[in-house]
Symmetry: C2
Subunit: 204 residues, 2 copies
DNA sequence: GTCTATAGGAGGATAGAC
DNA sequence: GTCTATCCTCCTATAGAC
């Protein structure tokens, strides 16, 4: 819980939006859990949507900073991607509720705020795509469609936010390690791995 | 559009839940797009939640049938997983709206319906995990945590439902092929691929 | 089957006192 | 800053006519 009421509203909203979803959460519920009346919420935020926007913005800005930090700490392309994957997973598992909201509650935003957030997200994706693209040029990674793979990799790493349990069988670092290996293997054209050993599945 | 009103309600609801989300969609809107009054909706469904449940159930049952069909058509473990991946991707891209809803609107279900759907989903996941697990036992795939990888693989293949555009640059088969390769490479311990060539990223 | 009418409640947001 | 009181809109669902 935050030390002042605005932080408390943020924390409570993150909990509720995560548990029930943005539309299913009412301002009264947020107020109740904060121990104030719903009218008092409007002293801090002019609308429920502004609370949501604030969560999106903070989460995405922090995630982007974390990616930049990881990339800057690496010398070559492979290390950059390893760090990008590790940091992406790490962020999504340690700030699970916020990232879950950021990934699932875009439709609650006003048009302006939506455009703003999507632009930030695109920028983040482009940075990751640039790393993969460099790896392909340097023949470190197999030549494939970079955009499609970047979506796949990011979604894969994001998915932990859905099922991860902080006190479960595996630690955040364990999972980050598993995904790092899987992604690097998937991108490299490992010597001797036959790519089509079988006729493709029938497609009705 | 369906040929009778019940099918029309289903189709319209899928469109609206996909566009705006379940909670943000009202029964009046569904009725309006169907060309009837909202009261008439209740002649076909006893509640809005029943419409949602029907979408979940149909989608998940069809997906499970499609997986079984793909697995049955394969001789060895690797082919089974290739077919599982292809079929999963194929289904999610061709029935994009329904799978998007099935993956994002679980919270709209009543407790009973929720349990019912989650049980079906778990059964589907177990079938995929069984294939991966068999592959590990037969040393076709590298030994790793099967559950974590299965989540990763399924989420990755599901992700297409979010961004895929039917008339875009790549066809459904193109994308299924890219993901099939990526997943099989990621699971195999390709000869000569160094797994830790670099110190891991710093983790604050 | 589809309609009109309405019950009955909950929602977001504001006004103005303290 | 926080409260009480209230506005107005929209919602899901039902009743009963045609």
């Amino acid at each position: 819980m935050g030390t002042n009421m605005k932080e408390t509203i943020n924390d409570v909203s993150i909990d509720l939006f995560y548990e029930k979803g943005y539309f299913a959460t009412s301002v009264s519920e947020i107020a109740k859990r904060c121990g104030i009346q719903k009218a008092s919420i409007y002293y801090y935020y002019s609308s429920k949507e502004h609370i949501l926007y604030n969560i999106h913005k903070t989460t995405l800005d922090d995630l982007t900073d974390y990616l930049k930090q990881g990339v800057a700490a690496a010398d070559d392309v492979e290390a950059q991607l390893r760090n990008a994957v590790r940091n992406h997973v790490h962020f999504h598992l340690t700030r699970q509720k916020e990232t879950f909201i950021a990934n699932s509650e875009l439709r609650g935003l006003t048009e302006d705020h939506y455009q703003n957030i999507v632009a930030k997200r695109d920028e983040y994706e482009r940075m990751v795509q640039q790393i993969i693209s460099n790896g392909c040029k340097q023949a470190i990674f197999a030549k494939e469609d970079v955009k499609i793979l970047s979506y796949a990799i990011l979604t894969l790493c994001t998915s932990g936010a859905i099922w991860f349990k902080p006190n479960g069988r595996l630690s955040v670092d364990d999972i980050a390690g598993i995904y790092e290996k899987f992604v690097i293997r998937g991108l490299k054209d490992g010597g001797g791995v036959k790519i089509f050993s079988q006729t493709p599945a029938s497609e009705p």
